[in-house]
């Protein structure tokens, strides 16, 4: 069993089909603690499906995912427990509309018994300060801008003290002027050594924040390397083609 001391995720030959449509055709990837990985690629290449498979919102069709040395696809695994150790940020924020910002953040820690109410409340206050929205604690999501909502969604994921954070195009649904505040927050997390996998279309951001960049194409990792390699010296014609369109 491939165990290294600082290995967080070890993904082997992961595939995912929806009916006849094979979206992921065999992904191998090792993610180390504290590593920030960006995934880029054209629409429909399987980027989102990939990270959804990691947190088990989709069930992979075959392959292995070792999380902290344990295969999360084996039958005896408690999926809820695995998910509680990962954080996920969605394109559309998915805040709970019937709860205030603070209630959104406190919900999981309290309901899953990770913290008592007092602890969760202090933690929520701390996170709200950290994301720069201490005055929005009692505000409902519908009264917040997209950028603010996404920052709270990040705080909500962080409240569970996840070992890895997954971002599924976190800025795609935002107005251009709100993108920066969210990216700044993610950068901040990167500087604090949070392990992260980020599916993104923000090439500049990917270049700046990532330790490694993966280029997905048609269900494969077409090319992989440091930001300098990927953006400075793309080898495959597909990546070159893709970059010429988005840059």
């Amino acid at each position: 069993m491939p165990i290294e001391n600082n290995e967080m995720l070890n993904i082997r030959a992961l595939t995912k089909s929806f009916g006849d449509n094979q979206v992921l055709k065999g992904i191998d990837l090792t993610v180390h603690k504290g590593e920030v990985i960006s995934i880029i690629g054209p629409s429909g290449c399987g980027k989102s499906t990939f990270i959804r498979c990691l947190i088990l919102l989709e069930r992979p069709s075959s392959g292995n995912v070792f999380f902290d040395g344990k295969d999360i696809l084996s039958k005896d695994v408690n999926e809820d427990e695995i998910r509680s150790r990962m954080g996920m940020v969605f394109q559309n924020f998915n805040l709970f509309p019937h709860m205030t910002a603070k209630e959104n953040i406190m919900l999981a820690p309290v309901k899953l018994g990770v913290m008592n109410k007092e602890e969760a409340s202090l933690e929520a206050d701390r996170l709200l300060s950290k994301i720069g929205l201490p005055d929005k604690a009692d505000t409902y999501p519908s009264k917040l801008s997209g950028g603010q909502q996404q920052r709270i969604a990040i705080a909500r994921a962080l409240a569970m003290k996840p070992e890895v954070m997954l971002f599924d195009e976190p800025t795609s649904a935002l107005d251009p002027e709100k993108v920066g505040e969210v990216l700044d927050l993610i950068k901040d997390l990167a500087e604090n050594n949070m392990t992260m996998i980020i599916v993104t279309h923000e090439m500049g951001f990917a270049r700046e924040v990532s330790d490694r960049v993966l280029f997905f194409s048609e269900g494969y990792i077409e090319e992989e390397g440091t930001p300098a390699e990927i953006f400075g010296n793309p080898r495959s014609s597909r990546l070159q083609d893709f970059l010429s369109k988005v840059l």
Binding site: I55, N94, A108, K111, S142
Partner: protein, 726 residues
């Protein structure tokens, strides 16, 4: 909520009815208390007098109860439902005027007959119906399942028969002209007519006589034998006959209390005889009727009039000392040989009515005068015997007018009549010059055996003479000219405004005998059923929706989800009344569980299916990302559902859930089919007693509307609160 708890909850909901059925058992304590079912709109056999279940059936059973020591309790149900109720052991036996027939004997055992009946026709009064041929082919309204319904089939085509579930509706069909006539058991027809003078019984049918018996389930032999033996005994010792005679004496009127709770009543034998006794506005009017009515009020008796031929009054008095004869009867020495007479309440004598300036001052001058008399009257006979020259008129008023205008010199008529004519003709006056005629006293006739009754009535008569009441009554008739149309002194109907009449109806429907209690008790039951069913429906519906939705999302729980889908499909695909009957008669067949509880379960199961669909659509209305976000935080499917999805779903579906509650309240109105006294059934029972369709229906419609409006208001408020929240 974890999966196991959910599974347990689901199983529990499916199993509870079965479990309850098993534990309720057959109830072996039914040794001393038995439940008999009856339809209370079947007067005179079964009806409510106030809140007391009474009638011939009920009183015979009361007598049997006293004889056997069995505690018999009565429960109302629809006539149609009782047979099923008996065979399914929902009650111990049935008593609702069941005609003994070979067909019915296939499914139930009959007791000895306790009553003989014949089929008669009831139709509007005064029609020319003299034989069976007169009703052939007409539109008939009958009660489903009765022998009247069977006989109607031999008289008219099937498309001309209106099948009603109760007699209230049939009477309305007759009054409103929707049916020409009804075919019905004779006593029942008489009871209807007693409440509706505009109807009449026509005894023209050639149907074979029939017999009523109580009905028992085939395997209920011990109880059957006990009741039947007692019934035979009571028939032999005359108790059954006494009870039936008691109701017959009361004219089979709905206004008759139980034989065992009877009140003092003056039974009057009378015949049409203006101005002493006649019908006006469906009310017994006339001098005799009103004086006796005043006496009945004075001594706090009820009063019943029975119409017979004049000559039969004396015959009946000889055999039945409980009656009083009253129809302008003269107290004569010949009659006193067989009867006793009260003090006279008025007397009369032939007099001459002549112009004030007339020279007729002595009997001797009459021979030369032209005299007005009334055809066939006492005056005619007298003038004839004296050989006077007369003109004959049909009315006293015509005779007086002719005298006044000078056509005749004078008129001969009774003093009372003459006094009345002077009101219209002040130029005339009475000359009491007929020396050869007698003063004739009017009095009430009694059987010589009725000494007690005689004393009570005569004492009251003397008292009312002394205090002027009788003078008032006499003055009233004199003032009104003794005409046939003059309403009773006690009948203030004709002077009443529309609103007064409406108020009278209101009083009769809701205040008399505390009839409003049928509605308040009914309302309480309606609300009980609705609330219990609503709670049950919400729980079952939410659970079923969650099971179906989560199964669709996760691919698990296939069998529970399939069960839920079958449940939803079956319930939504069948009428609630059918479900109610199936649950009552089949699922809970051997249970003597409270009907209100069974109805609540039936409506709860029904509502659950609709709620499930509503909740499912609510769950689907919540964006998929909500579930994913909750799951990504580590919350289980159940917890995500409960904390994230349902709260949002409920906000979306609150209006639809409100609608479900509103239709549920209204649907409970069919609970009457399993004998529950809910609001609609309460109104039915009032209608069965007062035969007034309008007010009870309008009132319950208003009550339902009020409940629905209150509910709508509460839902609006809740919606507002939820909407303001975020």
């Amino acid at each position: 909520m974890n999966r196991k708890i959910l599974a347990v909850l689901l199983t529990a909901i499916m199993i509870v009815p079965v479990f309850v059925t098993m534990t309720m058992g057959d109830g072996s304590e039914a040794e001393t208390t038995v439940v008999v079912e009856s339809s209370p709109d079947f007067a005179p056999y079964d009806y409510y007098y106030g809140d007391e279940f009474t009638g011939i059936d009920m009183d015979i059973l009361r007598a049997i109860g006293m004889d056997t020591g069995i505690n018999i309790t009565f429960r109302q149900n629809l006539f149609d439902s009782i047979l099923l109720s008996v065979t399914q052991h929902k009650c111990d036996f049935g008593a609702s005027g069941f005609t003994i027939s070979e067909e019915r004997k296939q499914s139930v055992d009959f007791t000895e007959p306790y009553s003989v009946i014949r089929q008669v026709v009831v139709a509007k009064a005064g029609l020319d119906i003299t034989s069976e041929a007169d009703v052939k082919g007409k539109v008939m309204s009958v009660q489903t399942g009765t022998s009247g319904a069977d006989y109607a089939k031999t008289l008219t085509s099937p498309s001309n028969i209106i099948y009603q579930k109760g007699y209230t509706e049939i009477v309305l069909d007759l009054i409103n002209g929707k049916a020409f006539c009804e075919v019905v058991d004779d006593a029942v027809g008489m009871a209807q007519v007693s409440a509706h003078p505009e109807l009449q019984v026509y005894d023209v049918l050639e149907a074979e006589p029939e017999y009523y018996g109580f009905i028992f389930a085939k395997d209920n032999e011990a109880l059957y034998k006990t009741i039947n033996d007692s019934l035979i005994k009571l028939k032999e010792n005359g108790t059954v006959a006494d009870i039936i005679k008691y109701y017959a004496d009361n004219g089979f009127s709905l206004d008759t209390p139980s034989y065992f709770n009877r009140v003092n009543t003056l039974f009057i034998l009378t015949c049409h005889d203006v101005p002493f006794s006649y019908m006006a506005n469906g009310f017994n009017a006339g001098i005799d009727a009103d004086i006796l009515r005043a006496i009945s009020k004075d001594i706090d008796y009820k009063i019943r009039f029975k119409q017979v031929d004049f000559k039969d009054i004396f015959k009946e008095l000889e055999t039945n000392p409980s009656y009083i004869g009253a129809a302008g009867i003269f107290d004569t020495p010949e009659r006193r040989e067989h009867l006793s007479f009260s003090d006279s309440y008025m007397s009369d004598k032939l007099v001459v009515l002549a112009p004030k300036n007339s020279d007729i001052t002595d009997i001797s001058v009459l021979e030369s005068k032209s005299i007005a008399v009334v055809i066939g009257n006492e005056s005619d006979t007298y003038a004839e015997s004296k050989g006077y020259a007369v003109n004959r008129y049909t009315e006293n008023s015509a005779a007086a007018a002719k005298v006044s205008s000078g056509v005749n010199d004078c008129a001969i008529m009774d003093r009372t009549m003459a006094k009345a004519q002077i009101n219209n003709h002040p130029d005339l006056e009475i000359r009491d010059i007929l020396t050869d005629v007698q003063e004739r006293p009017y009095a009430f006739a009694f059987s010589p055996d009725a000494t007690n009754l005689y004393e009570i009535v005569n004492a009251s008569l003397l008292k009312l003479k002394a205090d002027g009441t009788i003078d008032d009554i006499l003055a009233y008739y004199e003032k009104n000219g003794y005409g046939e149309g003059v309403p009773s002194y006690f009948d203030d109907e004709s002077e009443k405004s529309f609103f007064d009449k409406l108020w009278d109806k209101f009083t009769k429907d809701f205040l008399d005998m505390d009839r409003y209690q049928y509605l308040t008790n009914g309302l309480a039951n309606t609300l009980k059923i609705t609330v219990m069913a609503l709670i049950m429906g919400m729980i079952i519906g939410s659970v079923a929706a969650m099971v179906v939705s989560m199964s669709a999302q996760t691919g698990k729980w296939k069998i529970p989800a399939a069960i839920c889908r079958v449940y939803i499909t079956v319930i939504r695909g069948t009428p609630v009344m059918v479900q109610l009957l199936i649950i009552y008669y089949i699922v809970f067949a051997s249970s003597d569980m409270n009907q209100i509880l069974i109805a609540s379960i039936a409506f709860g199961l029904n509502s659950g299916a609709y709620v499930a669909e509503v909740v499912r659509s609510g769950i689907n209305s919540v964006p998929k990302g909500q579930m994913e976000a909750a799951r990504s935080l580590g919350l289980s499917t159940g917890a995500s559902m409960k904390l994230i999805i349902l709260p949002q779903a409920i906000r979306n579906i609150l209006p639809a859930l409100g609608n479900e509650a509103i239709s549920l309240i209204k649907e409970t109105s069919v609970a009457g089919y399993i004998g529950v006294m809910e609001l609609t059934r309460g109104a039915d029972i009032i209608r069965g007693q007062t035969y007034d369709a309008l007010l009870p229906l309008l009132v319950i419609a208003a009550v339902y509307l009020a409940i629905v409006l209150i509910l709508q208001y509460l839902i609006k408020k809740m919606e507002k609160r939820l909407n303001n929240a975020y």
